[in-house]
């Protein structure tokens, strides 16, 4: 049975393009152009993944509202924000509302598909026991690649897919400096330098929530970041 994806986007051209691409990848797609319409549908039947634009017609923050409501309906449903807005503030707001990822609209379709696939994989993996070959251990860090799950000192660190991939890129070869371009490539995103910096800052904070003294990610000025070996 194919996965059911809800796409809430007010721009018809983008909506149709994305819907076509998703269908081509074998997903079932339901499209909505505004919040009430989408919400009405969600109440009767939940999708398995939702892609939501923040600005929905007249409601400039309609996507945020929808995300909150949807999170109310299901705690585990993967939600991706897809927006033209790229400000840090919007990213933080979106992620705080419980979205699993935040992408700007200039993401290419293959990148989008990769993320969706990753998210589904994570959901599926939750139900299965972890396989030893998919687990990467670096000191106190345990990285479950299949489930996109990270544990630090036996405590789970909740990360978005983007963040997970960044950590993965750093941890694969501890001590090696990953520059911004590499991190971007690994995370399959196209952003400016500041966004990478913001991401790294957020990742550090997430680790610090679990462990106050977390200081494994080192900034190598002018070059990038590395995981302390």
């Amino acid at each position: 049975m194919s996965k059911n994806i809800a796409l809430v986007e007010d721009d018809p051209a983008i909506r149709e393009n994305y819907a076509d691409a998703l269908k081509r990848s074998g997903y079932t797609v339901e499209t909505f152009s505004n919040r009430p319409e989408a919400m009405a549908r969600f109440k009767t039947m939940l999708p398995q993944l939702a892609i939501i634009d923040i600005g929905l017609g007249q409601e400039i923050d309609g996507g945020f509202t929808l995300c909150r409501d949807l999170r109310g309906l299901s705690a585990s449903l993967p939600i991706i924000f897809l927006s033209a807005r790229d400000s840090d503030f919007d990213v933080v707001s979106g992620l705080r509302l419980g979205a699993d990822d935040y992408l700007t609209k200039d993401v290419s379709l293959p990148h989008l598909m990769a993320r969706i696939a990753a998210l589904f994989r994570r959901v599926d993996a939750q139900a299965q026991p972890s396989r030893a070959e998919d687990v990467l251990q670096r000191g106190e860090l345990v990285l479950d690649i299949n489930r996109l799950n990270i544990e630090w000192k036996h405590q789970q660190v909740i990360l978005t897919v983007t963040e997970f991939w960044m950590i993965h890129a750093l941890v694969k070869f501890p001590g090696h400096v990953k520059n911004r371009d590499q991190l971007m490539r690994e995370a399959e995103m196209v952003v400016d330098d500041n966004t990478i910096t913001s991401h790294m800052k957020r990742i550090r904070k997430k680790f610090q929530v679990v462990d106050q003294s977390f200081d494994e990610i080192e900034t190598v000025y002018g070059m990038g970041y590395r995981w302390k070996p």
């Binding site: 983008i14 691409a21 033209a84 379709l109 910096t197």
Partner: protein, 669 residues
């Protein structure tokens, strides 16, 4: 240049509201002038009334004397030797004195007197007037001279006594011996008349009585005012207590100023100073002809004016004599002086108070206006950006001005609303980039997703080429759009970043090493002389980003096979460091030097613009980051000693803060 500046500042001073208001306040000087005019007219009025009263008094005197015509009917004893009166008043060493000597003797002894003295060797003319004693009249002479009542002694004693009396009387008979002495033998005084005159005599006045022959029969009074009396004490102004006596220095000042006003009092008739009596004589002569007259003349001291009134004395239908009353206008002059002094005092006080009040008012006004102007000026920084928030809100005085209900309050409010509107428009412009980026992103997403879909569908090789090209274009467009909002993004990033303490040497060293790895074909050096550690409180990521931009810029302009030098040195002034990035290559043109660090300014030409496309934001970001650290970014052409261009140096001066203070962590927008 200096002269122009000087004249400009002088003009500015003259044109300032304060100066103008003070100039206007000079109108206050009219107050003393008006007072002076008033005092002058008051003086004229007083003189007129004095003239009238003097005329009255002379008339009264004439009337009094006309009732006693016998007083003027002169009966003189034959004069011994008939010599003229000596001019000297003082008793001479021989003990024989007395110029004009009038001896009035009570009738009881009148008989004895003439008998004895005439044999004595008297040099003076002694005229003895036998005045019948009225029943009421007391023989006052005795009391006057303070001598014991005459005792009828042997003739020699009596003669001596009479002589002495004559001398005493001669000295004291006239209050103005000087005047009397000038009269010479015209002065034939009558003690009785002088006694009458003394009853009616007024202060600072002289009374003359002439008989028909033009001889002066009585001269009483003097113009001299007792010097013991301070002038102000006697004045009516002071007795009414209008003003307390001014301090000594002020008195001196006033006496220096006031005579300038008082001396030019109008005088009717001039006087021959040589003989003051002359005028009186002439007037008396006229009066003897039956003509009344009043006359003004100036006294010798040129300050007081003497008023004289002449009146014929009638008795039984014929003129028996003339009465002349003279009076100085000293009292009036004194009054006028006092009035002027008071006026000057009050005037100066009023002027000073008014001047001070206006000055304070003007100062306050200009201060408020200046403050507004200063704040309005400060609202726009040298880059032309508005900073209204810190502007009107942080200044308590200005926010007070905003509430003021006067015109300056209106001005402040108008300025405030202008600023607010301008700032919102400015904000709109500043956000234009990110807004534009946001708006462009959607159509780009449409194109990109369409291309992606197209690529995924089955298309021929030829179509794929075009699709790929279109894809390339869209990617480039995407990059441009990201960069368009980079400035805004950075500002947001800086706002949310916290400063931390790092070692600048380590940071720069790491960064330069990174660049060397990233661009192996580019020669690069990090020079920091003997500086081994520079603790710096900053946003390290931002500093690195700034360095990225500087290196990018240097690489783009570096001539082939030349090194890029990153240099760290201490600032020449103050506690700070300078980070400079130098490259060899083309010079900066003059016109771009000042705008180099502004948004959307690029000196790249078609030749050295790389593929990614430049929006001229690189150095703008350098500036933003430098300013966030209270630093200054600047660029200059680097010349060697011979003035030959070496390259371009872009420097960032960073002040070093001693340590992190919590308040420094909150940043202004």
């Amino acid at each position: 240049m200096a002269i122009t500046a000087l004249s400009v500042s002088a003009n500015k001073f003259l044109a300032s509201i304060r100066t103008r208001l003070l100039a206007v306040s000079l109108v206050l000087l009219l107050i003393p002038y008006l007072g002076y005019r008033f005092v002058t007219s008051m003086e004229a009025f007083l003189r007129e009334s004095q003239e009238r009263s003097l005329t009255d008094s002379s008339r009264l005197l004439a009337a009094t004397l006309s009732e006693r015509p016998y007083l003027l009917a002169r009966r003189t004893l034959p004069t011994v030797k008939g010599s003229a009166l000596p001019q000297k008043v003082a008793p001479n060493p021989e003990g024989i004195a007395a110029p004009a000597t009038t001896v009035t003797v009570p009738s009881t002894i009148a008989v004895t007197v003439p008998a004895t003295p005439l044999t004595a060797a008297t040099d003076g003319a002694v005229s003895v007037e036998a005045t019948p004693l009225k029943p009421t009249q007391q023989p006052e002479i005795v009391a006057q001279t303070n001598t014991p009542p005459p005792i009828l002694e042997p003739s020699s004693i009596a003669a001596e006594f009479a002589n002495e009396r004559a001398q005493i009387l001669a000295v004291f008979g006239s209050d103005d011996p000087e005047a009397a002495s000038q009269l010479g033998n015209l002065y034939v005084p009558s003690e009785e008349i002088e006694r009458i005159l003394k009853h009616v005599q007024r202060d600072a006045s002289r009374m003359w009585v002439f008989d028909k022959a033009g001889k002066v029969r009585a001269l009483v009074g003097s113009f001299k005012i007792s010097p013991n009396l301070p002038p102000r004490n006697g004045s009516s102004m002071n007795s009414s207590g209008t003003l307390p006596a001014p301090p000594q220095w002020l008195n001196q000042l006033l006496s220096w100023v006031v005579p300038e006003f008082t001396s030019n009092a109008a005088v009717g008739v001039g006087d021959d100073p040589v003989s003051r009596a002359n005028t009186v004589m002439q007037q008396a002569d006229q009066a003897l002809l039956g003509k009344r007259s009043t006359q003004w003349r100036q006294a010798l001291d040129k300050q007081t004016v003497i008023l004289s009134a002449a009146q014929p004395i009638w008795a039984d239908g014929e003129i028996v004599g003339a009465a002349v009353v003279e009076e100085t206008t000293g009292a009036i002059a004194l009054l006028k002086t006092t009035a002027l002094q008071n006026l000057l005092l009050v005037g100066v006080a009023v002027f000073l108070v008014g001047f001070l009040a206006l000055f304070l008012f003007a100062a306050r006004l200009t201060q408020r206006i200046r403050r507004l102007a200063r704040r309005a000026d400060a609202a726009i920084d040298p880059q032309g950006r508005l900073d209204t928030k810190s502007f009107f809100e942080n200044d308590q005085q200005v926010s007070k001005d905003l509430l003021a209900s006067d015109e300056i309050g209106d001005l402040a409010r108008a300025l405030n609303s202008t600023m607010t509107r301008l700032s919102s428009y400015n904000q709109y412009l500043e956000n234009m980039g990110s807004r534009l980026a946001h708006e462009l992103r959607t159509p780009v997403a449409v194109v990109r997703s369409s291309l992606d879909n197209l690529k995924a569908s089955n298309i021929g090789i030829e179509e794929t080429t075009y699709v790929n090209r279109a894809h390339e274009g869209v990617t480039r467009l995407s990059g441009l759009i990201s960069r368009l909002s980079e400035g805004t993004q950075l500002e947001r990033f800086l706002q949310t970043s916290e400063k931390e303490e790092i070692d600048l040497v380590v940071l720069l060293n790491g960064a330069v090493t990174g660049y060397m790895q990233a661009y192996p074909q580019q020669e690069m050096r990090f020079e920091h002389a003997d500086i081994t550690t520079v603790p710096c409180i900053c946003v390290p990521d931002a500093l690195v980003q700034m360095l990225d931009k500087l290196i990018d810029n240097a690489r783009d302009f570096a001539a082939p096979q030349t090194p890029i030098v990153v240099c760290l040195r201490h600032a020449l002034h103050g506690n700070g460091v300078v980070i400079s990035v130098t490259n060899h290559g083309a010079a900066l043109s003059k016109d771009i030097e000042s705008t180099l660090f502004e948004s959307m300014i690029s000196r790249r030409t078609e030749g050295n613009a790389n593929k990614a496309g430049h929006l001229g934001l690189g150095l703008y970001i350098v500036r933003l980051i430098a300013e966030h650290h209270q630093g200054v970014a600047s660029a200059k052409n680097l010349l060697d000693a011979q003035g030959v261009l070496l390259g371009v140096e872009i420097t960032v001066l960073l002040p070093l803060q001693p340590r992190i203070i919590p308040s420094q962590l909150s940043y202004k927008i």
